[in-house]
């Protein structure tokens, strides 16, 4: 960096030398030349290294490294996903603003004390960049939970989900009482619809209509999860990559997990195959339920299988786009992007009675492959029955 300040708030302009003495305490005036000198707490470097943000008041480091056990012992350690302190706007913009200011104060103490306007070298088009950055950060919070859910992004997407839920798909739910108010549970559902709207709707249904307003963590297939933008968005609103380790960790934390064992086969069902459940993976969800002692809540989603009536799918061209297939529906790809608008079908989501496999077979049952497959088949049959019952009642695809 060689002392050249490019951004002005470059933290590395000084402090190259590791044994450098702490900067002399200087009273810092505001950068805009405020008349009132603001009292600033100046701490020597050694202490500053111990100070942290308010989210995690740490134990003071002692000179000898006896590890101090001050935090509550939890299996996975403390997470930074804590409720924000009251009265503080918990956004990335504020955090960044503050950081920029403190870095400026640290790097340019002498200049700020002079009260002269800052002379700093600017990047070309810095104004544009700053505006863009502020726009990009507007809806982001400065923390995410350990699986990447950002509460601000989730809140931002909420109105869209609400519109889809209430107005567009007019979702009706049944049996929400089967979902426990607290503690772990595994929602197992049929999967369909080319794009994973059903996961979003289950999430929204439980959040809005369940008495405990619980957050559902849907497990997302790899191909969606690593799809540019879509995967990141799914992750920020609560989706987690579908794998055994992630699911186990979520269930151990007593969360509500939604899994779609049909996976990619389910989401890519043709219109003529609608409401015919595909093979349920390799029964990984049963192993999970047995191992983690989580009840399985069989769930049937009716309506999602018609939103993109897929006539056929093209696989040979899809490889080069990094997706498993290109759907061909009456509207897509003939209408281009407009063809991706889903059909406004009437949806029903039914949650069935929980199945307690662990109580019956114990955690060791997870190693019995034949038992696992048998139980997976049992769950599949249960969901198929629920689907058939709902379909029998339904008179119209669009109006229910």
């Amino acid at each position: 960096m060689a002392g050249k300040q490019i951004l002005g708030d470059d933290p590395f302009a000084s402090g190259e030398d590791k044994e450098a003495p702490p900067p002399p305490p200087v009273d810092v005036k505001g950068a805009a030349g405020e008349a009132k000198p603001r009292a600033k707490k100046v701490v020597p470097d050694s202490v500053a290294a111990d100070a942290t943000v308010e989210h995690a008041p740490p134990p003071q480091v002692q000179e000898t490294y006896s590890p101090v056990e001050t935090r509550p012992p939890s299996e996975y350690g403390p997470s930074i996903d804590r409720p924000p302190p009251a009265g503080h706007r918990h956004g990335l913009v504020d955090e960044v603003k503050h950081l920029e200011k403190s870095v400026r104060d640290r790097v340019l103490p002498a200049r700020a004390a002079d009260g002269r306007p800052e002379e700093r070298q600017k990047l070309p088009l810095e104004f544009v960049w700053n505006r863009w950055r502020k726009l990009a950060m507007r809806d982001r919070s400065d923390v995410v939970d350990e699986f990447g859910r950002d509460p601000n992004v989730a809140a931002r997407v909420d109105p869209l989900l609400e519109f889809l839920y209430k107005t567009y798909f007019r979702v009706e739910t049944r049996g929400l009482g089967h979902i426990p108010d607290e503690g772990r549970a595994l929602i197992v559902s049929n999967h369909s619809g080319t794009l994973p709207y059903d996961g979003a709707m289950i999430m929204h249904a439980v959040k809005e209509e369940h008495r405990a307003h619980r957050a559902v963590r849907p497990l997302v297939e790899d191909f969606v999860f690593h799809f540019p933008y879509l995967g990141t968005l799914m992750n920020r609103i609560g989706g987690v990559r579908a794998c055994q380790e992630n699911a186990e960790r979520l269930l151990t934390q007593d969360q509500l997990v939604a899994v779609f064992p049909e996976g990619i086969k389910g989401i890519g069902k043709l219109f003529k195959e609608r409401y015919q459940l595909q093979r349920f993976g390799r029964g990984g969800f049963v192993k999970l339920a047995l191992k983690c002692d989580a009840p399985i809540i069989p769930t049937a989603v009716v309506g999602a299988e018609e939103i993109h009536p897929m006539v056929t799918k093209v696989t040979w061209l899809a490889k080069s786009f990094g997706i498993p297939y290109i759907p061909v529906t009456p509207t897509f790809p003939f209408l281009g992007i407009a063809g991706l608008v889903p059909l406004p079908t009437k949806w029903y989501i039914a949650f069935g009675e929980p199945l307690y496999f662990n109580a019956e077979y114990g955690a060791d049952g997870a190693n019995d492959r034949i038992l696992v497959n048998k139980l997976a088949e049992q769950v599949r049959t249960r969901i198929q029955e629920m689907l058939d019952a709902l379909l029998k009642q339904r008179k119209s695809i669009l109006f229910g």
Binding site: A51, R71, I80, H88, R106, C243
Partner: protein
């Protein structure tokens, strides 16, 4: 633990070695000039239970040393193992800390391989020869590799997929881990601890992470925003000191609490992000690496695309290692502002109210 973990009968079992005295320990540190080596030696200097520290490097550390002996040994030389063994036997070393690794990728592939892989072989040979009681090896979580199939939290038992990458930097580290694992299987009476540190930031340390975040610009891959994990330099030294102090055989992830998306980290550091489609970025990076303009190999872009976050639960449970700095504290300290966020927040912090 494999069942066949039995020590092969050794011919030189009767080495004259002073018995291990927990109050008079002798520790050898390779890579003494590096940040981890130097900071660890400084701590051992202060601790009365350590009788002597052997600092091994090709450059003499700059801090004042009272009970530390400096030995200039180049681990890339073919006779390094014999030299090390002779010195360790003479001084009665009971613990070896092997931290002589590169913290930044280099274009000098052959030399890097000699230092990391062959250097480790020499250290392990010397350890076998002198039958040291304990060996602590530094590794990094990059050995897991940023892979699309990684779970959100990688445990210590997870495959080391970093080896499939074409990066010499990561490949050598995976090779080192394999050698160390084989050594610990063959020598049951040497206690082997491997500490895998996440990307380490701090006001003093210099490595590829600090270099990356010291630039005003940072590349981002369009549509990808993986979660990242950092650990503070001080916590890393804490972990090493813990591992030297007590006996914790096995591998441990040394990571800080919390994760943040890459873009959030960049925003907090005040970087200008340069978004690129990933296929453009990969070929650009490959070209820049091949022409030696860039100092990070092309497959380092995987870390900007996929998850590589390790689970520190085992270190907490077994070692009792609790990182003092969470990810935000690490970033704040790296920026040189270890202060609370806002005045409002500071007031709340002071009153302890929520």
């Amino acid at each position: 633990m494999p069942a066949d973990r039995k020590r092969a009968p050794k011919k030189k079992a009767l080495v004259s070695r002073p018995p291990y005295d927990p109050e008079q320990r002798v520790v050898a540190v390779t890579g003494a000039f590096s940040f981890i080596g130097a900071e660890l030696i400084k701590r051992l200097e202060r601790d009365r239970r350590y009788y002597k520290v052997l600092a091994i490097d090709i450059r003499k550390p700059t801090f004042p040393m009272s009970k530390t002996q400096f030995h200039k040994i180049d681990l890339t030389l073919p006779t390094a193992d014999a030299d090390l063994a002779a010195i360790w036997k003479r001084e009665g070393v009971d613990t070896v800390v092997h931290a002589a690794f590169l913290s930044t990728p280099t274009h000098a592939n052959a030399w890097a391989h000699e230092l990391e892989s062959i250097g480790t072989m020499h250290v392990l040979n010397a350890c076998a020869e002198t039958q040291v009681r304990k060996l602590v090896v530094w590794s990094q979580t990059v050995v897991y590799g940023a892979h699309p199939l990684n779970p959100n939290f990688l445990s210590e038992e997870h495959d080391l997929r970093g080896g499939v990458s074409r990066s010499r930097f990561v490949k050598d580290k995976v090779e080192v881990e394999k050698q160390v694992r084989r050594f610990s299987d063959e020598h049951a009476d040497t206690l082997v601890t491997t500490l895998r540190t996440a990307a380490t930031l701090g006001p003093h340390i210099r490595n590829f992470a600090t270099r990356f975040f010291a630039r005003p610009l940072a590349p981002t891959l369009m549509g990808y925003d993986p979660l990242m994990q950092l650990v503070h330099e001080r916590d890393v030294v804490d972990a090493f000191a813990l591992a030297v102090d007590n006996d914790f055989p096995g591998e441990f992830n040394i990571v800080g609490d919390g994760v943040l998306p890459y873009s959030t980290i960049l925003a907090m550091m005040g970087k200008v992000s340069v978004p690129m489609p990933h296929f453009v970025a990969y070929s650009l990076s490959r070209a820049l690496w091949a022409t030696q303009v860039f100092d990070s190999p092309p497959n380092f872009l995987d870390f900007l695309r996929f998850l590589c976050v390790a689970d520190g639960a085992k270190a907490k449970r077994v070692m009792g290692f609790t990182p003092v700095h969470d990810i935000k504290a690490t970033i704040h300290d790296f920026l040189g502002v270890g202060a609370p966020m806002t005045e409002q927040g500071a007031a709340q912090h002071a009153t302890g109210g929520v």
